[in-house]
Every structure is written in C-alpha cells, then in structure tokens.
Amino acid sequence: MRVIQFREALREAMNEEMRRDNDVFLMGEEVAEYNGAYKVSQGMLDEFGEKRIIDTPIAELGFAGIGVGAAMNGLRPIIEFMTFNFSLVAIDQVINAAAKMYQMSGGQFNIPMVFRGPTGSAGQLGAQHSQAFENWYANCPGLKVVVPSNPYDAKGLLKTAIRDNDPVIFMESEQMYGDKGEVPEEEYLIPIGKADIKREGTDVTIVSFGKIMKVALAAAEELAAENISVEVIDLRTVRPIDYDTVIESVKKTNRLIIVEEAWPLASISTEITYMVQKRAFDYLDAPITRITTADTPLGYAPTFVAEFLPSVPKVVKAVKDVLYK
C-alpha cells in the first residue's frame, strides 16, 4: 500500500469531500495563499479557488461565528484553527452557538461543520502554545470530538466528520503532520465513536488517543521484549467514548493504564476510570493508573517538557507497577 504523510491524508480527505459536495468550504488563517501554516491545505486554493478556500484576518471568534452562521444556513464549513490554543478566543461560538443551536431551536437548525487544527504541545513553545483541550470540548454535549493518531485514521475520520450533520471538533498535532503511514488509494470512511485496538495483548490494557498513542505503542513494544503483553486501545473519538471496547479489554487483562496529554483534573482518563470501576470493578486486579501531563502550565525549557509529558519510561514503569513487578 502507498505511504503518505498525516498532513497529506488530511488534505486528501478535504479535497475529496470538497469535490463531492459544493457546500463544503475551508476557512481559516493562512489556509489559502500561504498554503496552510502547516501545509495541510497546500494546493487547495489552486484547485478550488478563493470562493471555497478562504483566508481570514486573525479573528477566531469572528470567523468561527461566521462558520456557525453559514452552517445554520445550509453550508458545511471546515473552520481551521492554526492551533486549538487560539480556539479559546472563539470558544463562545463553539460552545454557546455550535453545540447549542440544534437543541435551542427545537431541532430546526443543525450545525454540520468541522472545527479542526492541531492540539497539544509541540516542543518548546511555551505555556500558551502547549495546551490540550480535548477534555474541555468532550465535556460539552452537542459536540463530537475526534482525535486521530495516524494518517489512515485521520483521512477516514475527517471524511466522516465533514459528512456528519453535527458539529465536530477534529484535533491534530504539529508533531504528527510529518508522520507517514499506509493509506489506500480507494475511498473509505471510519465511523465516529469507535475505538480501535491498535495492538492486541493479554497482560495490561493501555488506553490513549492522538499523538500520545505513539508513546503508548512504543512502550508496548519495549515491554514485549520483556515478555509483557500489552493491549493498546486508540480511542480515536473522545466524545462519544467507546466504553465497551475499553471494558471488554479490561475484562480480559484485568489491568488498565490511561495515557493522555491533558492536565489531570477532570481529564478523559478520569472519566474512563469512573466508568471502568462502575462497570468492571470485579475484574480489576490492580488500581487503574493514569499518566497525564504535570498539573502545571508547560514552561519553555527542555527539562520542563520532559517532566511535563507522558513518556515511554513513565508508561513502562506504570505497567510494571500494576503487574506488581
């Protein structure tokens, strides 16, 4: 199978959906003439023209709201945030408008749109450019939140998100755009709300999503060398969460570790921990362990980055701890 970059997979998804449906357009900062801050939308202006690939001023609140208004009036906008850190100035339109409109209007105005862009830290970018808000958006009914971890999933999920009739938050990573992976030439879709078992195992279950899946898979590989069999589940979607896949796995392995780039309080891992203790309490042979970021903003120095983020050694240690090794 051919191998392409994560950013190319996203671009293919948008190109295919824009060829399929004239109501789809892309709007955001630097998406058109600059070809995308991270080159996701490279070449799209040439193919679709300025009517459908639209550069905006730096006004996230304004263009997010224009997107929601356009969606109310029947279009299917893709709104790109250069990073989700900047979505905070637009969050009123995401939470108070996009997520509420369908219910407030008694089912008259649905919002078929995608807000997409990179989330999380990406090296030494300082506190304001290093935040993950997956759990913030996942907390809000009315939204769906998708966080792919590889090019294949990214393409299939983004195509589904664009066709979805509800507002979808689609979160990528600067540190994934260059990742390569197998993506077939032929069209495919991946459903929202279904987790994927990326590696089967029997001793411990690790649940993660997005960029941090790389850490989870690397840890599993390292542990395999020590004859520890780890099952790695990629949630792919954090609203809704596919609890069943997690719980089935825990019933098999009896041990659960959740790895996530998020501050610990009220994180996705907290939520999964609740649901597993509720539905699989008798199956647990060790306390559920979560590996989140530090409970601090991420400072600039490299020592802070290493301390702050989930890492392979942290995961390996946690696995051994729950196995009492």
């Binding site: 357009f25 009517k51 905006t56 001023p57 006004a59 609140l61 304004g62 263009f63 997010a64 709201g65 224009i66 997107g67 929601v68 208004g69 356009a70 969606a71 109310m72 009036n73 029947g74 279009l75 009123d92 339109q93 108070n96 408008a97 409109m101 369908y102 219910q103 407030m104 209007s105 008694g106 089912g107 008259q108 105005f109 649905n110 078929p112 009914p141 009315g142 769906k144 979805d164 009739n165 509800d166 709300g193 809704p240 649901m275 509720k278 539905r279």
Partner: protein
C-alpha cells in the same frame, strides 16, 4: 405628511399593536408565574422591527438577541407558537426547548433569538455568507442592542463582512441602556453608528420611534446588500418603556425620560397618520385592536391547553445523529 400607502400604515399599526399587546400579556403572565426564566420585553421599540418588515421579503433572513418575541411575531410565527414557547410547551416554536430568549423558525427564516450578547453578530454575517456563496439575492438583517457593540465579536464580524461584501444589515437597536448601564457610561463615542466607519461600512443614525424613517434607512441598506455592495450599519435610536427584564425596576433612569419617549410612541404616531388622513376611523382601529386581543387570548388558551414536552425529549435534538450514546450512569 403621509409618505406611504394607506395599507402600509394599517399594516404597521396592526403589526406593532400585536407586538405591544403580546408583550403586555407576557408581562401579566410572568407575574402569574405562567412564564418563567428571563423575559425581556420589546414595548416601545416596535417601529424598529415593523419598519424592517415593510422592506424585506420572506426569503430574507432575520437574527437577533434575546429580546426576540416581537421579531418572531413579525416574521410570521403564529402568536400561539410564540406564547407556547414562553410557557415552555411542546407546541412552542422551539418545542419548549428555547424559551423566551430562543425563538426560532426555519420556515419563517427566523434564525433565532440568541442569549450571549453580541454572539449573534458573526452568526448574522455567516448566514449572509451562505446566501452569497450560493449566489442568492437574499439579505440578512442582524439585530443587536447597544450593549452588544462593546463586544469584540462585532468588530471582527464587521471587518470580515466588509472585506467579503456580505449582504447583511447590522442594526443596533439603541434603547439607551445595556441592562442598567447607560451608553454614556460605556464609551467616549456616543454615536454608535460611527463604529461602522472604522471599517468603511456605510453607517448612519436613524429615528427608531418612527416606522417611516426606519423603513427608508432599511430600504437603502437592503438595496445595497442585494446589489452586492456589502453591509450597512444602522444605529436605530429607540427606547424600551419597561426594564431590561422582568426583574428590573429600572431605577437608573427618570420618569421624565420615560415620559419623553412615550410622547413619541411609534404606535401613536402611526395612529395619528391614519386618522389625520382618514385612512381608517377610530372604530376601524378599535376593531383591529379587538381582533388582536382575540389572537392573544387564543394564544394563551392554546398554551394553557398544550402539553409540556415529555422529559425524554431532553435527549432529542441534541444531535442530529439518531441513537447518540448519551452517558446516563
């Protein structure tokens, strides 16, 4: 001097009288606790909406903030459905899910009442964007209060509406007070219309107590929008006779000030034109009022007799996707 047709004045009278009597009834029902939550009345401001309706077509779009009952009625949503929404009944125009602040009707191109001050301004631009994208000739009328112009959303939306020449008419219904804070306490620029000039947007001030002047200003703006010449900003100076909401005794202003505006009452102005020109007799106008009284009485009876939405409806209309797996454990 009458500048419009007899029929136009009668329509304005009828429309504004419906809004006023509806709001008076709402206030009464709020007092009886039939209507709950927040309830913001439009009494005194009727000419702003009436003067819009005489210009725009059914295909044009309307969006406003939470003082939205009159806009909903004027768009053609039956009084029954607006009243039932105030009651929170399943027969309301938003199925009891919106309430006073969130009237909606796709059928009547009413894109809703919105509860976050200024949040509807980018939405209005976006609605217009979609019509332009499809090559339509519709315009969007986007209302806001004088409080909303202090929000960043206005400035971002104004700027993009201008660079993309969106067919949208931004209307600031300046009633002098953002809740209890007067305009002069929130700015050094008392002329709100001048905010549009920062974006080279055609902008002006309009007498909002008078249907004719509102109509003329809107007509010019609609023409500009339909021709593809972009947005307009109108500061329509008006006044609300009641408090900001039902819980506001409006102690921040004088009785004299309220009286001064009541002397310019928009309905009485239209009544005077009608009577002075013999377009109708006082008896004819009384008959109109009586008919409106019956419509409102009917809307109350309809609401009283309508069911609440079933509690299970809490889980519908959140997602368009059927069978969304809500967490309920």
């Amino acid at each position: 001097m009458a500048t419009f047709t007899k029929e136009q004045y009668i329509t304005w009278f009828e429309q504004m009288m419906l809004m006023r009597r509806f709001e008076e009834k709402s206030a009464q029902l709020y007092g009886q606790q039939k209507i709950k939550g927040f309830c913001h009345l439009y009494i005194g401001q009727e000419a702003v909406v009436a003067g819009t309706m005489s210009v725009i077509n059914k295909e044009d779009k309307l969006i406003t903030a939470y003082r939205d009952h009159a806009h909903a009625l004027a768009c053609g949503i039956p009084a029954r459905e607006v009243m039932a929404e105030l009651y929170g009944k399943a027969t309301g125009c938003s199925k009891g899910k919106g309430g006073s602040m969130h009237m909606f009707s796709k059928e009547h191109n009413f894109f809703g009442g919105h509860g976050i001050v200024g949040g509807q301004i980018p939405l209005g631009a976006g609605i217009a964007f979609a019509d332009m994208y499809r090559g339509g000739k519709q315009v969007t009328v986007c209302y806001m209060g004088d409080g909303a112009v202090r929000q960043g959303a206005l400035h971002e939306a104004f700027n993009m509406a201008m660079i993309w020449k969106l067919p949208v008419i931004f209307i600031c219904e300046n009633n002098g007070y953002a809740m209890g804070t007067s305009v002069k306490r929130t700015t050094n620029v008392m002329d709100i219309w001048k905010l549009g000039l920062a974006y080279d947007m055609p902008s002006k001030e309009v007498d909002g107590m008078n249907c004719e002047s509102v109509h003329e200003a809107i007509a010019e703006a609609v023409d500009r929008g339909r021709k593809g010449d972009g947005p307009t900003f109108l500061e329509i100076r008006t006044y609300r006779y009641r408090g900001h909401s039902m819980s506001d005794p409006a102690k921040y202003r004088t009785k004299e000030e309220v009286e001064e505006y009541k002397q310019q009452d928009p309905i009485e102005q239209v009544r005077k034109v009608i009577l002075d020109n013999n377009y109708a007799t006082q008896a004819d106008l009384d008959a109109i009022e009586e008919k409106i009284g019956a419509v409102i009485q009917d809307s109350v009876e309809f609401s009283e007799n309508s069911p609440w939405p079933d509690a299970s409806e809490l889980y519908t209309d959140v997602y368009m996707e059927p069978n969304y797996p809500f967490i309920n454990e």
